[in-house]
């Protein structure tokens, strides 16, 4: 019965609904974007009504927020955290630094395009994006999830070698457990 296509569809709908309305975010507070999150979560913008809620550890989280520029040093940790999250998982990149390096375009230790190193589901533009933008980003992500298109994790799994090559290019001293999902 579970293998039946229609019932699978129903299950998918329910699951996507649940995933869509329950986004536990792990805010990796790099860069200046971290300061935009408190207003987003608290009384004024109240992201919780969308089901967005902070998660304490990557094991419990659904969404990884990269809130700003990433140095190679932090990139390593971010990759680690991303790999520790449970499938399905989504990544949101905040601000221009994650998109094209922003004002750190010529820094000797900052990456300039996040999606080369990990699958990004949504980029939120701005330097920094304001809470409204963040909320709209979440809403967009929810739509993607509902449509079943937020498949960053799948992409990562499928193209792991490419990602790994990029990551190792930046992080020469690679000593991390294997990602074997």
């Amino acid at each position: 019965m579970i293998n039946d296509k229609n019932s699978q569809k129903i299950v998918d709908i329910i699951q996507n609904f649940a995933r869509q309305h329950s986004l536990w975010v792990l805010a990796y507070g790099t860069g200046c974007g971290a300061i935009e999150l408190p207003p987003t979560m608290t009384s004024r913008y109240d992201a919780e009504r969308l089901g967005v809620r902070g998660a304490a550890t990557p094991r419990q989280a659904d969404v990884l927020l990269i809130t700003g520029y990433l140095t190679t040093k932090t990139l390593k940790r971010v990759i680690r955290v991303y790999e520790q999250m449970q499938d399905p998982k989504y990544v949101i990149g905040f601000g221009s630094c994650t998109i094209n390096g922003g004002m750190y375009w010529d820094s000797y230790n900052t990456i300039k395009a996040l999606d080369r190193y990990m699958p990004v589901d949504i980029y939120i533009n701005g330097c920094m994006p304001r809470p409204e933008a963040v909320l709209s980003g979440f809403a967009k992500l929810q739509k993607l999830i509902q449509a079943g298109k937020a498949d960053g994790a799948k992409k990562y799994k499928e193209n792991l070698e490419w990602y790994r090559a990029n990551q190792k290019n930046v992080i020469p001293n690679w000593r991390m457990p294997e990602y074997n999902w």
């Binding site: 040093k73 000797y108 230790n109 300039k112 395009a113 930046v170 992080i171 001293n173």
Partner: protein, 188 residues
Amino acid sequence: MKEIKKTVIEKITTHFKEVTAQQHDGNRVDFFIGKEEIPAILFFLKDEMGYNHLSHIACVDWLEEKEFEIVYIVWSYTDKIKIFVHTRVERENPVMDNVDMIWRQANTYEREMKEMYGIEFTGLEAPEEFLLEDWEGPPPMRRDFDTEAYAREKFWERPGREDARDVRETIIERTGEELPDFAKKYKR
């Protein structure tokens, strides 16, 4: 204040022959001394004169003179005077005496200088990499290190920002500021 500064200078100059002193306004006194004398003068400042707070150790890259200038800034809580002790080391294979046995916190500054300028400190306790993790390039704070070229080579760049420029150049262009000669020489 002036008397204190005077006595400090007197004391230092009588104890250390090859030192030149320079007075500044306010509570600052500078000394210039050879690098061999650095531990001795720092010990002297700390133990004999009560300058027991090491504020900072700074490094200046005098590329043209092929030297690094290392500045030790110490502070006395009783005299309320900052003393800058300057010394110079050659830029090729710079080696300096380690002073973290005088102030434990010197260790941090020295490790930073080691990574950022490539200055070797003799007998420095530096168990692992400090600020730069997995760094393979030249010491990045040296002035002859080309950041942009390095970044372009190392990090993949999203197309469309080829016209991005050094922010300093933009500033200079806009303000019409006169550049010093040495800066022109090393302009990218």
